[in-house]
Amino acid sequence: MNNATYSSLLELAAGLVILCAFVTLWRRSLSAIVRALSVQGVALGIVALVLGLHRHDAVLITVGGLVIAAKGAVIPTLLRRVLANDSRNRETSPLVNVPASLVGAGALTFLAYGATRSVVALVPTSAGRLIPLGLATLLIGFFSMVIRRKAASQIVGLLLVDNGIALVAFLATAGVPLLVELGASLDVLLVVVVLRVLAVQLSSKFAVLDLDQLQGLHD
């Protein structure tokens, strides 16, 4: 693969990651959000694959394959099961409405570009220029956790944060060690499982998956 294809493939995949982050804020239907997340996971895996092919790094290619399997297939499937418990699977009333949240996400992306200037200067490669996208994905994920009410949206936000971190890790370093990547993925998987249990408990206790119900536990 020549340099031009490499950098445009990389830009395309990374752009898809941030685009999916915006989609999760734009759509209200939870199943569409999960679909976007699944696409994002695949795009993230492609970033790792492209990098691995370019650097002839077998470990990175393996990681890419694993990321596609875990974030593109396993985790979305688990999330769909959570959604199956809740009949009203639409994010009906987020704390900030959709246009405003898109504007907010745009602002966060600017912030990400501003904040990573010095990091980008340190990694003067075509991969390094994409680092702000990873940070932006992270911030958008955090933002969506703050403004969404449903438990499932919270999980999605957390996964966005994780994907953002993974993207920065792929782009900024010469590949994360396999062990670290596996450990991080396992952590996320565990968090998803725990949140799923929490969601099931919530829906059986309150018949809805709104996190606002938890406020009643405050002493």
Partner: protein, 673 residues
């Protein structure tokens, strides 16, 4: 050789801790005590050999603590403190064997007590800031566990433990700050490096470090106004633990002040030591006053600890002032006096707390108004308490007397200094000593007279039986050493002088000398404790004989009707006609009414038939700690208000918490960008 004994001491202490936690209940205490004894004896061997040879033990390893490693240095000064701690530890662990059946044989207690003893013994061994702080914290935590072990008074113990935890950690924070500042500016964390460089620091920095360290260490020593935890924690801790805390742990507060003030910073200007003396005067007076008015036996002892530590601080401050104003002989004598007062306090306060623990174990109460007549029922414990009380009241022929004599000599012989503040402080200190002495005598006449003499005031007190032999032996050991050091102070004084010299670098050799009669170097004071004791004994015998003779002569007089003394002519006397602790302290309380401001409660219930006939009168006074009420309660209220404000931040909404996180992240990024 010395290195081996240090290692044995550490290992035996740790094994005792593990054994206390792991062994079954029957063998637990025995094995733990045996191993603690091994640990104590090994430390004793090390300390004695350091005192003899003057070569400090120096060991270090980089394996255990990351970054700094452990460094162990035992100087002669540290050895003196090890000596005092080991004495109390040997006696209280022996006592613990008998006491254990009384709720102190739980796993937590059996492993915390040896660890507490070991960490206390090791604190003077610390040769670097990191080692010192680790051991210091270990000592605080294990003693905190011990305060909580008495299950029969859970509520009171919990509140006491809370006070203790807050005070000890606030103190530890101040110490941490002082030592970290010191090591940062001296460019190294071992005490040897700091000692080398600390002289060249600026005066303001040295002053800040000293004041911070003084605050931290004085709170451990129980100096007023940082004493509030003392009457709570020392009273609630079980017998042997309270003896260890009050007899040994408070010493380490004094050690810390000498370590930072004299050794690391190498002495300082007069105002440092004026501050120390002022703290001392305040503690001595306040502690003695509250000891005289409280009616809880162990609270009384704890307040008396504040009083005695006040005396040590006066001596320490005097020594520093004299050294700073150039009179080296008096400075050396005052330092020896400080160490002697500290050492004596360990012995007699250990004995007193062990005896008080025995009383509490047998009768289930510490309230003097419910005790009485215990001397007949618990003869050994009673005699131990008597010896301790005489010693704390500084009466000859006991060791407390020698210490206060030495302190007074150094104060009275202070050369007319050019510094007016020093002259005034010395005069005030002498006056305070006199008042404190009187109040202490009153407090212990009360404790002894109400608690052990007279007739029992409650069922429990009249059914009291003597405690097991190990407890008698443990407490008796300390009482006997009080007597021995009172008769022949030279048994310990040379060691203390060596310790004082290694702390001060003044270079006056043997400021106190003479076996039979103590002579002071360069001063005119002479004291012959054994001759004094002999004289007292002869006088006592003569009085008894004279009384016998006059008694026999009076028999030849016509027979009189036998009436009980102090009975106002009544034929029968009831228990309630005796003085109580409250009534004994009442005149004193009246004199110091403005200071103590006791809450008085007088309830007169008239008979149903007429108002002029009274059925019952209930009179109750309670004297809360005035410093606690005036300083600490408002502080607690303020902290609580602040906490309530902080709670407004958290309203239970997950989104709000997440928003805090995002906001923090964004702010950090904006600042960095």
């Amino acid at each position: 050789m010395n290195h081996v004994s240090v290692l044995i001491s550490v290992l035996a202490g740790l094994t005792a801790t593990v054994a206390g936690g792991a062994l079954p209940i029957r063998s637990r205490v025995g094995v733990a005590v045996l191993l603690t004894w091994v640990s104590c004896s090994a430390a004793l061997v090390a300390a004695v050999s350091v005192l003899r040879s003057g070569h400090a033990i120096v060991m270090s390893t980089s394996k255990i603590l990351p970054l700094t490693g452990i460094s162990i240095v035992l100087t002669r000064l540290g050895a003196v403190f090890v000596l005092a701690i080991v004495m109390v530890a040997l006696a209280s662990t022996l006592y613990w064997i008998g006491y254990a059946s009384h709720g102190l044989s739980t796993r937590s207690a059996s492993s915390a007590l040896p660890l507490f003893v070991t960490s206390m013994i090791l604190v003077p061994f610390a040769g670097g800031v990191a080692t010192f702080l680790v051991l210091w914290e270990l000592m605080a935590l294990t003693s905190l566990v011990l305060v909580l072990t008495d299950q029969s008074r859970r509520e009171a113990a919990r509140s006491a433990a809370q006070w203790y935890a807050v005070m000890t950690h606030a103190g530890a924070a101040a110490i941490l700050l002082a030592l970290v500042l010191l090591s940062a500016h001296a460019g190294g964390q071992t005490f040897a490096q700091i000692e080398l460089h600390a002289r060249h620091l600026s005066g303001a920095l040295r002053g800040t470090i000293f004041v911070l360290a003084l605050l931290g260490f004085a709170s451990k020593a129980g100096a007023v106004p940082l004493h509030v935890w003392l009457p709570k924690a020392h009273a609630e801790a079980p017998g042997p633990a309270s003896a260890l805390m009050s007899g040994a742990m408070v010493n380490l507060g004094i050690y810390g002040i000498i370590l930072v003030g004299n050794v690391l910073l190498g002495g300082g200007p007069v105002w440092w030591w004026l501050l120390v003396s002022a703290l001392g005067v305040l503690s001595a007076l306040y502690g003695a006053l509250y000891a005289a008015t409280t009616s809880d036996l162990k609270r009384l002892l704890a307040y008396s600890t504040a009083d005695n530590m006040g005396l040590v601080l006066i001596a320490l401050g005097a020594s520093g002032m004299f050294a700073a104003s150039g009179s080296r002989t008096t400075a050396a004598i005052a330092m020896v006096a400080a160490l002697l007062l500290m050492f004596n306090h360990s012995l007699f306060k250990g004995a007193l707390f062990l005896a008080a623990g025995a009383v509490q174990m047998v009768t289930g109460t510490r309230d003097l108004d419910r005790l009485g007549g215990l001397l007949k029922r618990m003869p050994v414990t009673g005699v131990v308490f008597l010896i301790g009380a005489l010693s704390v009241a500084a009466l000859p022929p006991l060791n407390g007397f020698v210490g206060e004599w030495l302190l007074l000599q150094s104060l009275l012989h202070a050369l007319p200094s050019t510094n007016t503040a020093v002259v005034i402080t010395v005069a005030v200190a002498v006056a305070a000593l006199a008042l404190t002495g009187g109040l202490t005598v009153a407090a212990f006449v009360k404790a002894m007279g109400i608690g052990f003499l007279g007739r029992p005031r409650s069922e429990e007190a009249s059914n009291a039986l003597e405690v097991p032999a190990t407890m008698q032996l443990g407490a008796g050991l300390l009482a006997l050493s009080c007597l021995a050091l009172g008769l022949v102070p030279m048994l310990i004084l040379p060691s203390l002088e060596l310790g004082a010299r290694s702390a001060q670098h003044i270079g006056v050799s043997s400021p106190v000398h003479g076996w039979i009669s103590l002579h002071l170097f360069g001063l005119r004071g002479v004291l012959a404790p054994s001759l004094l004791a002999g004289g007292l004994f002869v006088a006592l015998m003569a009085t008894v004989l004279a009384r016998r003779v006059s008694h026999r002569r009076s028999r030849s007089w016509p027979a009189l009707a036998p009436v009980e003394p102090w009975g106002s002519g009544r034929r029968t006397q009831t228990v309630r006609m005796q003085y109580t602790s409250t009534s004994f302290a009442e005149p004193l309380q009246r004199v110091f009414d403005d200071v103590i401001r006791p809450a008085r409660d007088l309830n007169v219930s008239p008979a149903a038939e007429s108002h002029y006939y009274v059925e019952r009168i209930a009179y109750r006074t309670s004297s809360d700690d005035v410093i606690e009420r005036v300083i600490y309660q408002p502080l607690i209220v303020a902290v609580r208000r602040w906490g309530r404000l902080a709670r407004k931040l958290q309203n239970g909404s997950v989104h709000r918490y997440l928003a805090y996180g995002l906001l923090a992240l964004v702010i950090v990024l904006v600042v960095l960008a």
